[in-house]
């Protein structure tokens, strides 16, 4: 098999297995290609392996078997500095938010710019605009533990988008949001997608997936059992 990436491919997985020690098989023989600029849902029941699949794509976890190519880089053999560089081009919305608890909401969002060395003034201005766009203007000085789940989720979303990443990985990004906020967040993700970002959203909200009607990968017990171009046809 050639590991030469097609420039059109954002992501290619070849025969990927993921086994969590000691023997928890989370993904089995996944073969999939996602092009640049696509908007893709990953659907499946709880425990199907959605989060695991996303974790492989920004090298939080390493594949136990097979090849994982992201942006032309093989994540199985990636070096530590390359890993950091990759993550700076990937905006991740974590299922558990992963906010820095000792930093304010504003600082958390600005943090994605801080790691690439953007000046303080600039990163706080952008973070403020981003937070305004997501309806958190009033909470910028709060610490994450004092926020509701939905608010923390939106901070995580703002942080993922602020870097204008080429790839956005969203793990259940609206799991804690009310319907209005869910619409708003998906509109942001779709807007980023229209601007050229590749977006992958893990979700078990089938209603939402049908509503948006984009390419959908279906996982079941770690296997890829479906790849629909448009779930509604």
């Amino acid at each position: 098999m050639s590991a030469q990436p097609n420039s059109r491919d954002m992501i290619s997985l070849y025969h990927v297995d993921k086994v969590y020690p000691p023997n928890q098989m989370a993904l089995r023989d996944i073969d999939v290609t996602i092009n640049r600029g696509e908007f893709v849902f990953v659907a499946g029941a709880s425990g199907a392996g959605k989060s695991t699949l996303l974790k492989l794509l920004f090298a939080e976890e390493r594949a136990s078997r097979g090849q994982v190519l992201v942006g032309g880089r093989n994540l199985v053999t990636i070096s530590r500095p390359q890993k950091a560089a990759l993550r700076r081009n990937v905006g991740v919305i974590f299922q558990d938010y992963k906010l820095l608890e000792t930093r304010s909401v504003l600082e958390n969002v600005a943090f994605a710019l801080e790691v690439i060395g953007v000046k303080k003034r600039e990163r706080f201005q952008l973070a403020f605009k981003m937070l305004s766009a997501i309806g958190l203007k009033e909470r910028i000085h709060a610490l994450p533990p004092t926020l509701s789940g939905g608010e923390q989720q939106r901070v995580s979303i703002a942080r993922a988008l602020i870097n204008r990443p080429q790839l956005i990985l969203a793990d259940e990004p609206t799991g804690n949001l009310d319907p209005d906020m869910t619409i708003a967040v998906f509109n942001l993700l779709l807007e980023a997608n229209r601007c050229g970002a590749t977006v992958i959203v893990a979700s078990h909200n089938l209603t939402l997936i049908e509503e948006i009607n984009k390419r959908t990968l279906v996982l079941d017990k770690g296997r890829l059992i479906g790849d629909f171009e448009r779930p509604k046809g």
Binding site: A85, E101, F111, A112, I116, M181, C195, N205
Partner: protein, 337 residues
């Protein structure tokens, strides 16, 4: 499956009501490159973040600083004691006197030959001949106004002549002094020797044991201090392992995560060691006040000396490095995300 109730309509063409002012698209498409910090700003940034690693967990940081302070206090205190006791012993050794009383019948030429021989000896610092007349004169001075009863003693002076011998400090070792004393005692002009032989031997023993003990415990103490401090720092970093993990997941490079902690460790080491040394200096000042007013065997103790500037400097550098390396090694465990 669907617990959201009636699903909201998603309109991908129009901005959502209220939120999402269109900022994202505008920002994204502008392709505008963002100004980066550079040059000295980078140093300032890391320094600020270094201070932040300390202030973020003030309790733990205080414990780290105190650990370093106590360690350095003990280490420096130990060095101080070693240095001053060594000095005291040397001092005591240098005032080690042997008095050889001369037989009244000894010929003056033999006596002066004896004195010259002593003066040429490597083990002797000085040998001063005190004649019978000088001895009486000194005795009289000692008695002061009550010296009247010594009238007429000149004719039948009962005081013997003597040679006051001062030994060289570095030769106050049991065997060499012992052989010297044997030689003196056997000499024909010598009537009697007066000295503190046990004191000489004990002194020798103490100096040797003290040096060896000092060196070994210094090494052991250094090892323990390293261990203590790196463990304290490990605790601090352990408390922040989630944060470190998140930083890495968001794309922070190893050095971006590491440098602030190392600077923090460096600063804690600096503050801790200076604090420890200042405490020691205060303690030293108090002890010295006591020492100045006290005597041992009727002899005033010499002024104690504090550690030299360079010793203090070296200790501070040790504290600083221990802090920095402690952070570095403690971090390695928690940087695997």
């Amino acid at each position: 499956m669907d617990d959201l109730g009636d699903p909201p309509k998603i309109n991908v063409r129009e901005p959502s009501p209220g939120i999402g002012s269109g900022f994202l698209g505008e920002y994204w498409q502008s392709q505008r490159s963002l100004p980066r910090i550079q040059g000295p700003e980078v140093g300032i940034y890391y320094l600020q973040q270094g201070v932040r690693t300390i202030t973020a967990l003030p309790g733990s940081s205080i414990i780290s600083v105190l650990t370093i302070a106590v360690s350095l206090f003990l280490l420096a205190g130990f060095l101080l004691i070693l240095q001053n006791v060594g000095g005291l012993l040397t001092e005591a050794g240098s005032t080690l006197f042997v008095t050889a009383y001369i037989q009244d019948e000894a010929k003056p030429t033999d006596v002066s030959a004896f004195v010259r021989k002593l003066e040429n000896s490597e083990k002797v610092h000085s040998a001063i001949f005190v004649s019978k007349e000088k001895a009486l004169e000194l005795f009289r001075e000692d008695m002061g106004t009550r010296s009247g009863f010594l009238e007429g003693l000149e004719e039948r002076n009962p005081l013997p002549a003597s040679v006051d011998i001062t030994l060289k400090p570095d030769d106050v070792s049991g065997s060499s002094v012992e052989s010297l004393l044997e030689g003196l005692r056997a000499h024909s002009v010598v009537e009697e020797l007066v000295y503190g032989s046990e004191w000489v031997e004990r002194m020798e023993g103490i100096v040797k044991v003290f040096r060896a003990f000092g060196l070994i415990s210094l090494l052991v103490a250094l090892g323990i201090i390293m261990f203590l401090i790196s463990n304290t720092i490990k605790l601090v970093i352990y408390a922040r392992r989630d944060e470190i993990g998140i930083m890495q997941l968001v794309g922070a490079s190893d050095s971006f995560v590491r440098i602030p902690f190392i600077i923090g460790g460096l600063l804690q080491g600096l503050v801790g060691s200076l604090f420890g040394i200042i405490l020691l200096r205060i303690g030293f000042w108090l002890v010295n006040l006591e020492v100045r007013n006290s005597t041992v065997f009727g002899v005033a103790l010499p002024e104690l000396a504090f550690l030299s500037f360079w010793t203090v400097f070296a200790l501070t550098v040790i504290g600083l490095l221990v802090g920095a390396f402690g952070s570095f090694f403690a971090l390695r465990k928690f940087m695997n995300v």
